[in-house]
């Protein structure tokens, strides 16, 4: 009887056949990444696949040449992509809904009808599994941003800053990132002449320009929100307020005392952290830098002014 792991390996090998049909040479690394296994496991599965066939002849014309998979003849069967199983369709819908793709988005309908066995409706899937979903506007933006990044087009965005201003920026888009359920765009902002990270749900307008991104040394995105090199703030948290609840990227506790803890928080923009501190309503105090203390006081005053007006 096939053990669960064999069944999983068979599923991967069957999915692999469809990946092989288009190309004569496929890097093993791509197969490994796509199937989510190590190159060692991928190599073993390619080799097993090369032993498969019909009636002991008509073998899979596949062999592993170092780190490349060679397909040297027509495949004996299953050359068309296999439909998605119920679980696979579910996973795809859940992933796209997390990006704000709506239950009745034509994209989902197209995908499911063409590719799933007994396609589940998107409503069925999201009724039982829901991730911090983005909104549908974010989904539309992600479509445009993904294509601009792949094709290397410069974009113009209207972005709502943390202080509430709507600013038009011309950006060379590099990467999309996701942290804690939220999507971010990382790129070179021409307005400030530096790398910047923008929350996609704060982008109000997107225009893809004809202009191509000039060849710059685009560093790979190594961490979702890279805090390396960011200034650090020292913040005192009153006891009862814990870092785990705050979800500040890469923040860490540096001192613990009876009346609370002192934490170190990397911050890209003072406006973000200032707003976070104010939102805690006095349960957090910035010790340094002084400029951030001022920014906190300023946000508090502005919010109070808005209250009085109302």
């Amino acid at each position: 009887m096939a053990r669960p792991s064999s069944a999983e390996a068979a599923k991967r090998m069957l999915a692999l056949i469809a990946l092989l049909e288009d190309e004569a040479r496929v890097p093993l690394s791509r197969i490994a990444t796509t199937l989510g296994v190590s190159e060692k496991v991928a190599a073993r599965e390619v080799e097993r696949l090369s032993c498969c066939g019909i009636d002991g002849y008509l073998m899979m014309p596949v062999y592993l040449d170092g780190d490349t998979v060679e397909v040297f003849n027509d495949l004996p069967g299953l050359t068309r992509p296999i439909r998605l199983s119920g679980n696979e369709a579910r996973a795809l819908v859940a992933a796209l809904s997390a990006a704000g793709v709506d239950d009745d988005d034509p994209l989902l309908l197209k995908l499911l009808e063409a590719s799933a066995v007994a396609p589940p409706s998107a409503e069925e899937v999201s009724a039982v599994l829901r991730l911090d979903a983005a909104d549908t506007e974010t989904a539309e933006l992600l479509k445009g941003l993904s294509l601009a990044i792949e094709r290397g087009h410069v974009i113009s965005i209207v972005h709502r800053s943390r202080s509430g201003e709507d600013i038009t920026r011309v950006v060379e888009p590099w990467h999309l990132l996701r942290w804690d359920g939220t999507f971010y765009l990382q790129g070179y902002c021409r307005r400030v002449g530096a790398l910047r990270t923008f929350r996609v749900d704060r982008i109000l307008e997107l225009q893809v320009l004809e202009e191509r991104i000039p060849t710059r040394d685009i560093p790979p995105a190594t961490v979702a929100l890279d805090t390396k090199g960011m200034p650090l703030a020292r913040v005192r948290l009153e006891s009862g307020t814990t870092l785990a609840d705050l979800r500040w990227p890469e923040a860490r506790t540096v001192a613990e005392g009876g009346d609370g803890t002192v934490v170190e928080v990397p911050f890209g923009t003072p406006a973000w952290l200032a707003r976070q501190i104010v939102s805690l309503g006095g349960r957090a105090t910035v010790l340094e830098p002084a400029s951030l203390r001022d920014a906190v006081a300023q946000v508090a005053r502005a919010e109070k002014a808005a209250l009085t007006e109302g």
């Binding site: 796509t34 359920g181 808005a306």
Partner: protein
Amino acid sequence: MAIDSSERLVNLALYLSRDRSFSTIDDIRFGVEGYDREGSTEAFERMFEHDKDNLRAAGLTIQVDEATQGYRIDPALSFASEIALEPREAAMIRAVGGLILADEEFPLKRDLRLALAKIGSSIGGLDALAKAVPSASSDSADPRVAVFEDAINRSKHVTFVYAKPDGSTDERTLEPYGLARFAGAWYVVGYDRMRENIRMFKIDRASDVAVNPRLPKSEDFERPAEFDVADHLGLEFQFGIEGPHQVELRVEPGAARIVRRFMERSGSLHEEEGGLLVWRVEVTDTAALIRWVIANGPGIEILSPPRLVESLRSALDRVEVSHGSSELG
């Protein structure tokens, strides 16, 4: 010679899809490399049944011809048709697929990978996926989430020990209906057999989580048809023990874009002149509401009740005092 059972499964799939004819169980036993040709027929049949289940789970539909008792893979039901995607849709699937795969917390990763591999040719290659932007999650995966997910998928009941906010613990038996993640935590919603009601549980408070091991192939319960996990989800400020207070908030158009997804989940929303939105929503944790209002602002204002406006004002006063220029608060 015995061959690996994954190879036998692939051989069977190739054999059953090789042409349009049906194969009898004997054809299969002697035609497919990997079956025991000398052992008992019962053992072979058990193995074949199990293999068919596995091929079905892989997305292949096996058709049975009543007259000949023959089997074949039904091409129309087994193979995907061409998916006509716009370039921006394909680009988005590559980007989002890669990002979600990089999320340690996504419980359906294995299935998502296979799905993306299968639709790979329709989405124009997987190079972008392979370049997937690395770790996008703040935490490592919680194995309990996968246990609940599996139980939901198979409609099996789950027992666990639940730590209540006051520190005491309770043993629960749950018919899990749905799973949700928000504000960085996972929640399971289901029918609590002892409380005889639908309840929501925060998964990181559950321990000794065990899926009913009995009769793994049959379902323990039926999820109500109208169930939607979203109906049971609260917002960050709806997990308290106060009130509940009926709160009215006013949201400017610029801020609305950022908080619309929250506003659509709970309460009622009215649009006023100038695009201002008035949102009436139930609140059980005022400190969490204040935090939410400021963190998502500016442009969100509490209109009523007045007591809450005053709480916000004094919270802002405290912040101002502790961040005054004279000395550290």
